[in-house]
């Protein structure tokens, strides 16, 4: 199989999964449907993995479909950043599709076929973003991802879900059309090309003011990166079923935003143009602000999923910060954080979902003592939290480590300030994540005491269904494992 075919296969397999969902769903075979998705997911992952082998050998597999506009092709190319994002999205899709079966059935959700169909299509769009060879292809799949996830956000069809869906579409399309598309068109006007080119396409003659404006347009235009003040869609998207929050709003969708920023910094601006520039400084400021602000807000959230959402906003800012540094180390840190945060945050969402399925509880303040009845879930939550905070030996620590190294390398007078921001942010992460674990294991449950029988005939709380718990244990272990394979990832991402 040639590499071009492999790319095509990797892209089309999720579409096949969507088709099989529709077919099996309509024929009334939900079991077949739910088996097919993880199987096809595994095949997708294998295809991306295969591409990874070539990228490691310094190959750049390419697939050019056709010319859309004169000089603009629908074309794909696999390079290290895209590979990491593609591997993360397709790999975690397998786990999530297993988890989703447990969750959707355990929680008696309606419209499961539609749900799984759009889920698979979203992965298709995410892979399209990962492998895009030019800004047009990226933008095409970026918008597709927004639209394909919309039915997932409004899945419940309630007033609340519809309102959230409106905010979701409104902010994401507003930013992408008025900022991102404008930036792309402006780049096209300035340079006559929108191909991702190593070293960047914007010439050194571009004025510093123009570079700053463009970079900010790109950064805010990639609204999925949830930079403040365009972050509101993410907490709103939490009305979706938890598997959606887990894979899409902790991994595929939000990473599409930061991935786009990384890609643009490396392949449109070029690190040389940005390093030490006003543009870089401006973006670092915005990223630092978002990082701290979101963390502070996260502490105040009682709804577990909302807390995790703000935590995601904060953690995404790490990646933007890495990109904004515009150094090899910064980009490396950003790339690593894409993978590390994905593994950690998906686990946390899985846990939130498992708690919801098992106990119907959504709030942090209700979790007292649950750790003893749901040990696996809370243990996984603990591990993943450590990874997000950045404590060795968990994967997240490497991303933080390289980010700090990058901050020292920037050479700005205020590198101390950057270091401070990173440390404070980690500290805040302790404050918003650890209470969950502490309450779960150490607080006494109000229902566990003598008055616990007040629940009457309600069945006792136990672990969530096996199909929910197994994936979250798996991803928690993955966070751990990533600590030890980070070297390979780092060598892949060295620019």
């Amino acid at each position: 199989m040639s590499s071009a075919t492999t790319i095509l296969v990797a892209l089309l397999l999720p579409v096949l999964a969507a088709a099989s969902c529709q077919i099996f769903g309509r024929l009334g075979h939900p079991n077949l449907r739910d088996v097919a998705t993880p199987l096809i997911g595994a095949c997708t992952f294998a295809a991306v993995w295969r591409l990874g082998g070539e990228v490691l050998a310094d190959g750049r597999p390419e697939l050019v479909l056709f010319e859309v506009l004169p000089g603009v092709e629908l074309a794909f190319q696999v390079e290290p950043l895209g590979l990491v994002y593609g591997l993360v999205a397709s790999g975690l899709w397998i786990v999530t599709s297993i988890y989703a079966v447990g969750y959707m059935r355990g929680h008696h959700e309606h419209n499961q076929t539609r749900f799984f169909t759009f889920f698979a299509l979203s992965i298709f769009a995410a892979l399209g973003i990962a492998f895009a060879r030019n800004l047009f292809t990226l933008f095409l799949f970026y918008e597709a991802l927004t639209l394909l996830t919309f039915p997932l956000v409004t899945h419940h069809g309630t007033d609340e879900a519809r309102r959230a869906g409106r905010v979701y579409l409104g902010i994401l399309l507003f930013t992408s059309i008025s900022f991102l598309l404008f930036a792309i068109l402006f780049t096209w006007r300035l340079t006559g090309t929108i191909e991702f080119t190593p070293g960047g396409i914007l010439g050194a003659e571009t004025s510093s003011g123009m570079v700053t404006v463009l970079l900010l347009l790109y950064a805010f235009g990639a609204g999925k990166a949830a930079l403040m003040p365009f972050h509101r869609w993410l907490p709103n998207a939490m009305v979706a079923p938890t598997p959606v929050s887990a894979l899409l709003h902790a991994v595929a969708v939000v990473k599409a935003g930061v991935f786009a920023i990384l890609k643009v910094v490396v392949y449109v601006f070029g690190l040389d143009l940005l390093a030490g520039s006003d543009a870089s400084l401006a973006l670092m400021t915005i990223a630092s602000f978002t990082m701290l602000m979101a963390a502070v807000i996260a502490i105040r959230q009682d709804n577990l999923k909302a807390r995790l959402a703000y935590s995601t906003i904060s953690q995404l800012a790490y990646i933007v910060l890495g990109a904004a540094m515009a150094t090899a180390t910064g980009v490396l840190a950003g790339g690593l954080q894409i993978a590390m945060h994905a593994a950690g945050k998906i686990t946390l969402f899985f846990c939130a979902g498992a708690i919801l399925v098992a106990t119907h509880k959504k709030k942090v303040s209700e979790l007292d003592g649950l750790g003893r009845t749901m040990p696996w879930t809370f243990a996984a939550f603990f591990l993943a939290s450590l990874s997000i905070i950045g404590i060795p030996p968990l994967g997240g620590s490497w991303a933080k480590w390289y980010l700090m190294v990058g901050a020292l390398e920037t050479g700005f007078a205020w590198q101390a300030a950057l270091l401070g921001v990173l440390m404070v942010s980690s500290l805040l992460a302790v404050f918003y994540l650890m209470p969950v674990v502490v309450r779960g294991f150490f607080a006494t449950s109000p229902t566990a005491g003598p008055s616990g029988s007040a629940g009457g005939d309600r069945k006792p709380i136990a672990e969530a269904p096996f199909l929910c718990v197994a994936p979250l244990v798996l991803t928690a272990l993955l966070s751990l494992a990533l600590f030890f394979v980070a070297g390979d990832l780092a060598s892949l991402l060295s620019f």
Binding site: E67, I177, S178, L181, F186, R189
Partner: protein
């Protein structure tokens, strides 16, 4: 050979109309007009292939050479319009409207087809002819027949809208006629190329400037340029849905061609855009149209009115492309002719499907219809996405070139405004899609009896929906031709 066939483009539908009157058999008439339109489409495609790359086909009516005789003259610009009009006519004609407009009883339906054919003939005539007064005649043929078509809508307000349309249209027509008269006075000829060659426009020449003013205002009324658009929302929302689809996809497009031809071919871009600086008026009006008409669309409760207001806004995009007066922007405007015809035509056909099954296209009545009519609703979504300009649809292609053209001109603010205005489209499309898919049907209006539209209706609507995606991904044919036409126009040719 091909120039002899060219004349059939106008003559065929013109002659077919009285034939329909004589045949008096509704179904036979329908098949017959469908056949005529198909032949016209085939001719248009043949002509387009012939003239691409700078060719010109000229036919002298009755063998009288210009300037005495009337010349039919086709280059890429008109051939593009011919293909567009005939293609849309073909798709709309093939739409099975199950008994046609409600106001026309079975035994009179042949007259409906006759009027339809007259309208097509008029539109094709405007496009094809190279004689200024001949344009006026065809303009009135197409306008008169479209007043009739609009008045056939089921609601009593359809007749009122048609009357209003007639008054506005006639005023526009007379303005156009006066403009042509003044041009004749200045140049002594009616042949467009001769006028263009003899006219030496200057700001001191009152006659020329007045002629330009009269022509532009007259055409703007027919094109529904903001703020002369008042007739359009009513006419489109009360006309029979098939007629709305046809008029939305063709009539305004031909008027746009006329405007471009007057500005670029007759008066020439240097005079209009450098001496007179028409863009100082056209650009603000276009932007106002984009925002105010889209804004009005948001507040419409009836899907047809919503689409009609959206049409006014989309005309704003086209005139904006015109006011850039550079190849990219003008090509953007011209390609939007085709793109908008595809999406708006498709959407109005979807409306026709919904009207047939649901009986109303009030947005509340459409709540939850997505489950009952999945294919119709999917076509609605595709058309809607195209209106917003999501990449992968035709709307994106137009926007891409319009914004590029505007940026080339250095109008950064206008570029931002174009993009912002498409967010208004997001709001009104979102409103409809949300109702169709995510709202529960009202208790008072059960939709359990609603079934998917019949194939004869779905197929044409889907042809346009598929075209909206296909031509959003491959633009060789659409943008390629539009670009060539734009360069031809800028060089002053037709």
């Amino acid at each position: 050979m091909i120039e002899k066939i060219l004349v059939l483009e106008v003559v065929l539908p013109l002659l077919a109309a009285p034939v329909c009157v004589l045949v008096r058999h509704p179904r036979l008439c329908r098949l017959f007009s469908l056949g005529v339109v198909a032949v016209c489409f085939a001719i248009a495609v043949a002509v387009l292939l012939e003239v691409r790359g700078g060719g010109v086909i000229s036919y002298q009516l009755g063998g009288w050479p210009p300037p005495l005789g009337i010349e039919y003259r086709v280059s890429t610009v008109n051939a593009y319009l011919l293909a567009l009009v005939t293609a849309m006519a073909l798709v709309v004609m093939s739409f099975d409207s199950r008994g046609g407009p409600p106001r026309v009883p079975e035994q009179r339906r042949h007259l409906y087809y006759a009027v339809f054919l007259l309208c097509i003939s008029g539109l094709l005539g405007i496009t094809i002819t190279g004689d200024a007064f001949n344009i006026f005649v065809f303009l009135e043929i197409s306008s008169l027949s479209s007043y009739i078509l609009v008045s056939l809508g089921g609601h009593r307000r359809a007749v009122m809208s048609a009357f209003y349309y007639l008054v506005m249209g006639t005023i526009g027509g007379v303005f156009f006629m006066l403009g042509v008269g003044l041009l004749y006075q200045v140049t002594g000829t009616l042949n467009l190329r001769d006028i263009a060659a003899r006219l030496e426009p200057s700001l001191d020449d009152r006659g020329t400037v007045l002629a330009l003013a009269l022509l532009v205002v007259g055409i703007s009324i027919k094109l529904a340029v903001f703020p002369l658009h008042h007739w359009l929302p009513n006419a489109y929302s009360f006309a029979p849905p098939k007629v709305s689809a046809f008029l939305a996809a063709t009539a305004t497009k031909v008027s746009f061609y006329l405007l471009a031809m007057v500005l670029f071919t007759i008066f020439g871009a240097p005079f209009v855009f450098e001496e007179l600086r028409l863009q100082a008026v056209l650009l603000p009006l276009s932007i106002l149209a984009m925002f105010l008409a889209s804004g009005a669309a948001i507040f419409q409760a009836d899907l047809r009115r919503l689409l009609a207001y959206s049409s006014v806004a989309q005309i704003g995009y086209m005139t904006l492309g015109l006011s850039t007066a550079n190849a990219t922007g003008l090509a953007g405007g011209l390609v939007h002719l085709f793109n908008h015809a595809v999406m708006k035509g498709g959407l109005f056909l979807v409306v026709a499907c919904l009207l047939y099954r649901v009986g109303s296209v009030h947005i509340d009545a459409l709540a939850g219809i997505g489950r009952r009519m999945p294919f119709t609703s999917a076509a609605l979504v595709i058309g809607g996405l195209s209106l917003i300009g999501v990449p992968g649809t035709v709307g994106f292609v137009s926007k891409w070139y319009l914004v590029s053209g505007v940026l080339e001109r250095g109008w950064t603010a206008a570029a931002v405004l174009i993009l912002l205005s498409s967010l208004l489209a997001l709001v009104y499309v979102g409103k409809v899609v949300e109702a169709v898919y995510f709202r529960k049907p009202a208790e008072t209006q059960p939709i359990d009896h609603v079934r998917e539209a019949p194939l004869g209706m779905l197929a044409p609507a889907w042809v346009l929906a598929v075209a909206a995606v296909f031509f959003g991904l491959t633009t060789n044919w659409t943008y390629g031709v539009a670009r060539e036409a734009a360069e031809l126009l800028l060089a002053g040719g037709i």
